[in-house]
Amino acid sequence: MSGITVNTKINGDPVEFICDADETLLDVLRNRLGLTGAKEGCSTGDCGACSVTIDGRLTCSCLVLGAEAEGHNIGTIEGMANGEELHPLQKKFIEHAALQCGICTPGFLIAAKSLLDKNPDPTESEIRFGLAGNLCRCTGYDKIVRAVQDVAKGMRNNKAKRA
């Protein structure tokens, strides 16, 4: 199979890769680029463990072809922290014990960030529906929801302080 050359940006950095026509973006990230933070839980878009953003939009990378990334900005878990500084969601997930095994965590963090980017003040129900595309089998979601609530509250407080 002849390879397709793809130019894209991943977490802000220009990246060029070659992939087969039938390769998913998830396979490219994991197998060609060494970005194994996105996980394959199902390959059918049901579990959300492979969540990334494409131009800011939450996407299951197992449902997108690598070739389709041409010209787009891809956001992955590896780009979430700012240097040494963890994103508030990352901090609060650890603080609230919102992970047990941690396999679903990258996907949840991407999805939660995407939710808060759009809706910084979500109700519990909005959080629950916003994260309904991500499966977690360990936690029962309780502590995940609390972590996201805590981050949203912090963001509101910061905003209030700045105003």
Binding site: C42, I94, I103, P106, G133, L135, G140
Partner: protein
């Protein structure tokens, strides 16, 4: 060996009971943590497995010649590559048969061949070129059907064990178990009210989000390395070495981070296959399961069929309890947890007359393996449903009926032994006093409860603790950390040494670095491996005190350890300024070399565990859909080391139980094929299905642990099935005896009851 030093109930803890950040947290929130499928090796090949499309078929011939000739294919293996080294060990033989079919394919998805190729697409093509000549046989997937005399037979030589006289004809019933005491027939004669019901539950899957993955590298000389996600890498090592016929010491298994297990990763599936492929290709081979393979070819739990009969006096005392528990365990004998179902079913009651009969049944489904408190949730569903019904018939509050008949210290358990101090009564009392219990219910809502039991056990652990010259601590444990156990290990070591949590780091060592460690299962890790950590720390303290004694020139027993310092034991020992851990460590090169503590043992005295759950459910009468509106878990943890992760175990187990009760099921077609092998159709609970899961941790110290710790991981999945069924019965007025309580089933139940009501009117 159990410790004779019972927990000191007055002990004040500094670290245990707090909620520090877990040591692997940052790796896991940044995507750096390496799970099973995240490793790769130079020159690695892609391994893929060909699976039987038939539920039951003789494998006449496998022709791999075309696949072998395909460019890029480096190895093709079949049953012929697994000569029998099992030496009469029937369970090991079955494990080997399960990872690669031999004479017959016994279920849809059973592995029949495997290839290793340079790319995934070549591997896929190669699988298509393998020609398998099947002789399709009649199959059976339902437990009741499998027990019928004319059912298709899986094994011609299977004669039910445990019946007298021995059966003359083979059947699919592998074994019969019987537990209990007293005389149930006499007990029923004393009863004023008897309820007798039959129940069925469907098979469910552990549903871990991480599919099985293995990266194997095996040389022609028999030395091998394996990286995989498992609940027990020592188990993987031992089983793989025996299947492949190599020395155990030649195989080193490194455990990856594990993306959930819940019992499902307590055996091998792809690991021996990856090793055999690597041996044949003489290159590293990586095998990763697809989700479809996970559902079809790993180890879900049993589907069941059960009969329960319980009798009570007018004033609410149980006079007799009798149950029959039929569990299918897939195609091999001894795999279903029928015995644990039968043993645990009535364990929460004080009973003079009890009998539980279990049947271990084979059928053409995947080989079952443990799922969190294996066997107990289904039995509990049946028993606690009848208990609720009896309470209503008696006109007694179900909680009072349960309290009246609850097992307590001194009760002869339904499975035999007499209980020591147990926490069942306190969980029931706490439930009765919980605000949830008195909260008003809305329209179409009902409240249910159930109490559940699990055994817990200890097992083998080996821990090594090293003290570098700066006085910080590294702890090597061999128990895979699935839910944050590294944090608990660090906490217990810090507690013993009297230092800060942040100075201790725990890692999971590979199989060549430590002695054997049992699988992380049976709720054993925080209890048993944690106890080994405590004892390794005590061993290190002894050595630290020796160094201080030698430095001061006083006898060893004149030195004590207090809050991170060696001190003279009293005024007579001499007047020396205390030496800190840091100071002793810094001097260690000159005082005798490195300081390390070790402990290896087989821990016993785990102490049984009880929980009581309360659940409010709302039913949509138009669709039959159920919504959990409030849920509370009350469980005895003995002593919660890291309360956040104890709560997490309570919540996670409860939600798995909610999934089991409401939606999850293996659905088989008439062709014996699984119809819902994916997360879209096998529906585990999602975030929007659920409320917060409230928890209440009770701490009734376990006398078998120095801090009083009890395992907490499994019991929480036991009561939800019954608690929800009881809540649904309260909301609809209909008693459902079959799970899952999916919308069509509930709707039909409501409509049938209405029709019946109209008829009666």
């Amino acid at each position: 060996m159990p410790l004779d030093n019972a927990p000191d109930s007055k002990r004040k803890f500094n670290v245990v009971g707090t909620r520090p950040l877990r040591p692997d947290g940052i790796d896991k929130v940044t995507g750096r943590a390496k799970f099973g499928a995240d490793a790769s090796a130079p020159g690695q090949l892609v391994g893929r497995i060909l699976r039987s499309p038939h539920a039951h078929a003789v494998i006449r011939k496998i022709d791999t010649s075309k696949a072998e000739k395909l460019a890029g294919v480096k190895a093709v293996i079949t049953r012929d590559d697994f000569p029998d080294h099992t030496d009469g060990d029937a369970a090991l033989y079955d494990t080997m048969y399960n990872i690669m079919a031999r004479e017959k394919a016994l279920y849809e998805g059973h592995a029949v061949a495997a290839v290793a190729a340079t790319t995934a697409s070549i591997a896929r093509q190669a699988l298509k070129l393998i020609k398998v000549d099947y002789e399709i046989l009649p199959h059976v997937t339902d437990v009741d059907e499998a027990m019928k005399p004319n059912a298709p037979l899986l094994h011609k030589k299977m004669f039910t064990d445990g019946v007298d006289p021995k059966p003359k004809k083979p059947s699919n019933v592998a074994r019969r178990f019987e537990f209990g005491h007293g005389d149930v027939e006499e007990g029923f004669k004393k009863a004023d009210i008897i309820v007798e019901r039959s129940f069925k539950t469907e098979a469910t899957h552990q549903g871990y989000i991480e599919p099985h993955a293995a990266l194997a590298s095996m040389s022609p000389d028999g030395s091998a390395d394996l990286w995989c996600c498992t609940q027990g890498h020592y188990m993987v090592r031992d089983v793989c070495a025996r299947i492949l016929g190599i020395d155990i010491s030649r195989l080193r298994v490194t455990q990856s981070e594990i993306g959930g297990g819940f019992g499902g990763k307590t055996t091998v599936f792809i690991e021996p296959v990856a090793l055999a492929l690597s041996r044949k290709a003489n290159r590293p081979v990586k095998v990763v399961m697809t989700r479809d393979e996970v559902f079809k070819a790993t180890g879900p739990t049993s589907s069941t069929s059960m009969d329960i009969k319980i009798g009570v006096t007018k004033d609410g005392l149980i006079t007799a309890a009798d149950g029959t528990f039929r569990y299918q365990g897939g195609p091999f004998a001894g795999c279903s947890p029928a015995e644990f179902g039968a043993m645990s079913a009535f364990a929460q009651f004080h009973l003079d007359n009890v009998r539980a009969i279990g049947y271990d049944v084979v059928c053409n489904r995947p080989k079952t393996i443990s799922y969190r408190a294996p066997g107990a949730p289904m039995a509990n569903f049946a028993v606690e449903s009848v208990i609720e019904e009896l309470a209503h018939k008696l006109g007694m509050a179900p909680i009072d009926f349960r309290i009246k008949n609850a097992a307590r210290e001194g009760t002869k358990s339904s499975y035999g032994p007499v209980y020591g101090p147990i926490g069942l009564g306190p969980t029931l009392e706490a439930a009765k006093n919980h605000p949830h219990f008195k909260a008003p219910l809305g329209p179409n809502q009902g409240r249910g409860m159930a109490a559940g039991f699990w055994f817990n056990f200890g097992g083998q652990s080996c821990v090594s603790l090293n003290i570098p010259t700066d006085g910080t601590i590294t702890v090597s444990v061999g128990s895979p950390d699935i839910g944050g156990s590294r944090a608990s290990m660090c906490m217990m070591v810090a507690e013993e040494l009297g230092i800060g949590y942040e100075h201790v780091r725990a890692i999971i060592a590979d199989t060549s670095s430590l002695g054997h460690n049992d699988v992380t299962d049976g709720s054993r890790t925080t209890f048993a491996t944690g106890m080994a950590c405590i004892l390794a720390a005590r061993d290190a303290i002894k050595k630290l005190c020796q160094r201080a004694a030698a430095t001061w020139g006083i006898p060893e027993d004149a030195v004590t350890w207090e809050k991170g310092f060696a001190k003279p034991a009293g005024a007579n020992a001499g007047n020396f300024a205390p030496l800190s851990l840091k100071e002793i460590a810094a001097a260690s090169p000159g005082t005798g070399g490195p300081i390390a503590g070790h402990h290896e043992f087989s821990a016993d005295g785990a102490g049984v565990s009880f929980a009581t759950h309360i659940c409010d459910v709302e039913i949509d009468p138009e669709t039959g859909a159920s919504k959990i509106v409030r849920y509370t878990v009350i469980q005895d943890a003995g002593k919660a080391v890291h309360p956040s992760y104890v709560e997490g175990q309570f919540q996670g187990g409860a939600v798995q139980g909610i999934g089991w009760a409401l939606n999850e099921e293996y659905i088989y077609g008439k062709d014996g094929r699984l119809q819902n092998a994916g997360f879209l159709d096998y529906r585990i609970p999602v975030c929007s299905d659920l409320p917060m899961i409230d928890t209440q941790i009770l701490e009734i110290p376990n006398p078998g642990h120095p801090y009083g710790v009890r395992g907490v991981g499994e019991t929480s999945i036991v009561p939800p099935l019954a608690a929800i069924a009881n809540a649904v019965a309260a909301a609809t007025g209909v008693r459902f005896t079959q799970l899952p309580l999916s919308p069509p089933r509930v709707l039909k139940g409501i409509e049938d009851a209405k029709a019946k009501g109209k008829k009666a009117a």
